[in-house]
Symmetry: C2
Subunit: 240 residues, 2 copies
C-alpha cells in the first residue's frame, strides 16, 4: 500500500507521499514516491506514485526519456492537462508492453498518480490519474485528492484543508493525516516527502523529508494528541 | 456497510451503532443494530450487529427463543465468555440452515457481532465475534473493537479512548468517530444508538438515540470542528 495526498488551496499546493513499498509483510523497502520536474519561472510539476513500483518507476523513466527527445513532452506542453495526458500515454504504453506478461503471473498492470503544479500562463492544477490512464481534476468542492490507504487520514483532511485554509495550517493537517494513517496501517511508513508550492511562484522553495524520530514531526503529533484531548474535554457534556 | 464500536474503559463500557442497511445505493433502510438483554442487579448484555440483516436478525431471534427454553441460555450462564459461545452456536446453526441456499445465489452467510457487558460475579468484558463464530476479547493494549466501516473513525478513537479515559470524554470521542465516518461513507447513517454502562452497576441507565438534526450531536460536531482548527493553528510552524 501507499499513502499520497495532493491539496489545492487558494495560496498554493501541498504534496505529500510516504515511502514504504512491500511485497507481503516480510519484504518491505523504502522508495521515494515523489517526482519533481521544475524549471524556475516556467513550470513546477509534481507526481506522486501509487501502485506497483516496477510500473510507476518505468512510467517516470519513460517520461524522462521522452522529455529528452522530440516535443510534445513535459517541458514543451503549455497546459497541466497536456502533462496529465503525457503521463497517461506513458502508462498505457508500459501497460501494452508489460500487461500480457503480468497476466501470466495472475497480476495486473497497476500504477496511478497524483499530478499537480503550474505552468507559466496557466492556473495551478491538481489531477488524479487512475490506473487506466483517465483522470479527474480537483475543484473547489473537493480540493484534495488521495491515493493508496486513503480512509484513515481522510477525516483529518476534512477538518483542516478546506480551500480557504492557509498553506501553513493545511500542511500541518496533512502531516497529522499521515501520522493517523501510519498508526493503523503497517504498509504506510516513513520517511514522508513533503512539498509546498506557493501559487504563481513557478519555483520549488519548500521541500522536506520527515524520517523516523524527526524532532518537528514528533512535536507536531504530540501536540495534536494533547490538543485534541483538550477539545474532547471541552465538548458539551452528554444529556441522556 | 455498518459502523459499530465497543469500548472498554476503567469506568465502564461504551457501545454505539449506526442504523443504515442497504442493498446497493438505491435501496437503503433504517434498522437498529443494538440489542440489549438486561436484568437489573444480575446482568447487562449488549450485542451490536454487522453483516446481512437477515442473518443478524435471525441470530438474535434464535437467542431470544432459546432464552425462553432450557438452560444453558443467555439468562442462565455465569460468564460473558459463555454468552459469546451461545451467540457463536446460534450463528453456526443459522449458517448450517441458510448457508447452502445462499450459495445458490452466489452469497455467503455473513453476520458478526460486538458483544459486551457484565454478569454479577464477573468483571465487565468486551468481545468481537467473527462471521465464523470464533471471537477475540478486548484487553488493555487494545481496548476498543470496531466492525463494519472501521477505518475512517479509527484515528479519532486512537486519540480519545485509551483505557484511562473518562466515560464522558470517551463517549464524545465515539460520537465524533461516527460523524467522521458518516461524512465519508454513505453506507453508514443515522440514527446512532448509544449506550454507556457504568462498571459494576449491573443496570442500564444511559441509553440514547441520535437522529438527523439532533441538537446535541450537531453542537458536538460543530465544536469539534472549531476546536481542532484551533489546534492546527496552534501547532508549531514548519521548518524547511
Amino acid at each position: 500500500m501507499t499513502y499520497c495526498v495532493g491539496v489545492k488551496l487558494d495560496e498554493g499546493l501541498i504534496f505529500a507521499s510516504d515511502s514504504r513499498t512491500h511485497a507481503g509483510v516480510d519484504n518491505y523497502s523504502k522508495f521515494c514516491k515523489m517526482t519533481v520536474f521544475d524549471r524556475a519561472g516556467d513550470r513546477v510539476l509534481v507526481l506522486l506514485s501509487s501502485g506497483g513500483l516496477a510500473a510507476t518507476q518505468t512510467v517516470i523513466t519513460l517520461l524522462r526519456r521522452r522529455a529528452a527527445g522530440e516535443a510534445p513532452h513535459i517541458w514543451s506542453v503549455d497546459s497541466m492537462c497536456d502533462v496529465a495526458n503525457l503521463v497517461s500515454d506513458a502508462m498505457r504504453d508500459i501497460e501494452r508492453r508489460d500487461g500480457p506478461f503480468l497476466e501470466t503471473g495472475g497480476l495486473k498492470f497497476n500504477a496511478s498518480f497524483i499530478l499537480g503544479g503550474q505552468i507559466a500562463g496557466e492556473e495551478m492544477r491538481l489531477f488524479r490519474i487512475y490506473a487506466e490512464g483517465n483522470f479527474i481534476e480537483a475543484g473547489t468542492d473537493t480540493n484534495f485528492l488521495q491515493t493508496g490507504e486513503a480512509k484513515y487520514g481522510k477525516p483529518i483532511l476534512d477538518l483542516g484543508v478546506g480551500s480557504g485554509a492557509t498553506l501553513e495550517d493545511a500542511t500541518k493537517c496533512v502531516l497529522v493525516s499521515f501520522d493517523s494513517t501510519m498508526l493503523s496501517n503497517l504498509s504506510v511508513g516513513m520517511p514522508i516527502d513533503l512539498l509546498c508550492y506557493v501559487r504563481d511562484s513557478l519555483r520549488v522553495t519548500m521541500k522536506r523529508r520527515f524520517g523516523e524520530g524527526d524532532v518537528y514531526f514528533d512535536a507536531l503529533t504530540r501536540q495534536w494528541l494533547e490538543g485534541t484531548r483538550k477539545v474532547f474535554r471541552a465538548l458539551p457534556p452528554l444529556e441522556w
